[in-house]
């Protein structure tokens, strides 16, 4: 399984990578939405799930979701928004735009495991 972690914070990327590697994922990282899109295009092995930070420079999480959902070849890509309490009401917009799930910071490895298992075993 391949996961793409999109966050402008190196520290957060490292935390998420740690969780995902423990859960058996191979992880690639991107610092913003544009880089993530490039990564998706160039990647030889398809990415199964992307963890998307809401608030990033250049391209927001919402814009990223819209860009992914506008491209049919990434239909099966699971999008999980990573957000905080402050931004929680805005996640609705991302879910409307085609994100599959959200998770609120801080979260544990178990929470992420549960959500990912649910999402990936029952494909959208």
């Amino acid at each position: 399984m391949h996961a793409l972690v999109i966050d402008d914070s190196r520290a957060v990327r490292r935390i998420l990578r740690g969780f995902l590697v423990d859960l058996g994922y191979e992880v690639v990282e991107a610092g913003d939405g544009e880089e993530a899109l490039r990564e998706l295009k160039l990647s030889t092995t398809p990415v199964d799930v992307a963890l998307v930070d809401w608030n990033m420079p250049k391209m927001s999480g919402l814009e990223f979701v819209k860009a992914v959902r506008a491209n049919a070849q990434w239909d099966r890509l699971v999008l999980m928004m990573v957000t905080t309490e402050t931004e929680i009401e805005k996640v609705a917009a991302a879910l409307d735009a085609g994100a599959n799930e959200y998770v609120m910071k801080p979260f544990t490895k178990d929470i992420i495991r549960e959500k990912l298992e649910l999402l990936t075993s029952s494909p959208v």
Binding site: S9, R10, R14, I15, R38, N55, P57, T86, E87, P106
Partner: protein
Amino acid sequence: MTTLIEGCDEIVKDFLVESYENLDQLDQDLVALEQDPGNREILASVFRTIHTIKGTCGFLDFGKLEKVAHVGENLLSKLRDGELELDANRTSALLTMIDAIRSMLSHIEDDGSEGDADYGNLIDLLTNLQQTGSGPEAAGTAPGRAPDRDVEDVAQDAKRSAETAQAGGDGTLGSAETTTTTAQAADTPQDSAKQTKDTVQAADTPQDSAKKTMATAQAAETSGTVLSPAPSPTASSLTESTIRVDVDHLDRLMNLVGELVLARNQILQFTSKEEDAAFVATSQHLNMITTELQEGVMKTRMQPIGNVWNKLPRVVRDLARSCGKDVKIIMEGKETELDKTIIEAIRDPLTHLVRNSVDHGIEIPEERQALGKAHEGTLLLRAFHEGGQVNIEITDDGGGISTEVLKKKALERSIITTEQAARMSERELLNLIFAPGFSTAKKVTKVSGRGVGMDVVRTNIEKIGGSIDLQSKEGSGTTIRIKIPLTLAIIPALIVTDSGDRFAIPQVNLLELVRLEAEQIETSIEDINGSPVYRLRGNLLPLVFLNKELKMQAAESSAAGSSAVSIVVLQADEQQFGLIVDEINDTEEIVVKPLGTQIKDLDTFAGATIMGDGKIALILDVMGLAQRAGIIGELSSHGIGEHKEQASTGSDQRRTLLVFSIGDDRRMAIPLDLVARLEEFPISSVEVAGDREVVQYRGEIMPLVRLSRFFNTNPDETEQLQVVVYSHMSRSIGFVVEEIIDIVEERITVTIDPDEQMGLDGAAVVQEKVTDLLDVDAVVGAAAPEALEPAATAEAEA
């Protein structure tokens, strides 16, 4: 620690490095926002930083930090969404929050905990500030005092804890680390969107934050490798296109390159005698590569001056606020690069100068408006390259400096004498501000009157081979211009030989070279009571013999007139002097090496270098040499020396005088600074025009006044007339004297006899003999009133 994740240490380090970097940007952003409160783009970036810190804290279990960041984030999100408006109080509170976050981060860096400081007040304040949202304007201005005090109190609290944290942190800053940044790396995405000549938002500053996170810097290196499977070949983020390198490594590299340059020079010297074409070609190749390598390594040590400047908006903002002033700071040329060591060296002087400008230069808004200026003062920082040097200018549009006030103060403190004051040009008066023990502040404020005077600023600038100059127009502002070399490691120098040894003289001190053929020596080098002087274009240039000062065995005495003499004209402080050496060789780029501990206290040498032939040459410290030779402080052209022993009481003054005789054993003196030149004319060259004696001198007709006739004395008749030339407003007059006796610097007590002869300015005991003081103006007025015509009218107007 109960954390949600393993491998926590590395992540904490990452978190610290990242947060420090972002916080530095935040300082800039918030100050910029105050100018442009509605800028959503900046607000969004500020929000994002705090948001990220808060988000990450949750994972790392830093509850207190999370709480502070959380209330800050709430306030910021309202600001960003336009529900609230950013005013001065909110900016202050947010800046205080940043300080608090920094303080906690630095605790975390030290011992992994967030520290004991209580941020309850800050949290309350930040919470209150987001609830007064109904009337954003009113919250900022109308209730005035109460919230204001709140902000200040909290700021104090936070500052205190920040300081303790800083004190703890400083101890650990053992080995300095820096980041080498490529030019494009400094362009953050935000930056590119802004105009080039922007006001405050500066480029990202990895170096600055690196300094703070020294302890954690290796983390960055590690993370560099861990994260390195870069997702795409075009590395996009700033952090990934730079690496952090220990400054010690760079210093070592620089040193090695220096050695390589020297070895290259040696090889090239051999090559010049070699005929093997292949060998010559290889040497040339080596030569080129070495030069390129040298430039490359130098470049790694270069940092944009923006790294120092970036701290200033915050400094200016806080200071302006505490003085009740409005100050806008504009920066031009912040990408101008300087060697790291120089960047470090100018940090404090620059900060001091900027504080001065805000504190003493720029007026309070009411005063400015009364003068018809914009209520907001402007502070312009400019940096640019010019002639292998970097110029830095600090300009304010404040009240300027009053030369009258300066003069008065300098006289009160006996820094200058009354007669010097009268002769000093505007520019010289302004530069009095750099004299030791001088400060123009009407009152000592906690901000800039902390005992560090402008003299210290000048000393620090001069220590790195720089110079500082000040221009000011009363009422409209002040410009301070600093010139500094690009680097200290490799400097251009003049190589000279004396007594069989070679010496290097830094080019910055060098003014010109004069070569005197044997036959010229006698006529142009004059001996005034054992002090040799040379007349360089009419100015008396004191001479210093290198072999005498260094007590070397002269190979052959060249000064006696047996052969040609080389004079190296040097500038030390305000004084020029000529250094006599056996031979002038060449100018070269030399690599400066520090002296060994045994001789490093010798102030005549600034260092050593290795020459092309592998031999060592000592680098002369021109200032030290001038001091040793007694040039500085004795013949100082303005006498801004050490005159601090005693306050001047009018007549009891220290003066530098030219003493001469006019016949009948009558001694007379005039202040040396009135003397333009000393000349000798054969009696046959004197012509008579009208009823006056004149000589042709430098293409003009110069009237002569025989002081013996004026004062009725009978001098010894000689074939040569000794003439003291006095110039005023580009007109000259020659006083014919019997004999020049000496130049002395003495504290004299002037007594004035009521029945005094016309043309005297009193008398004094000089060198234990009674000496009359010549009143130049009176003598000119009586004996040759038309001689200095333009001057006479000028004085009449005055």
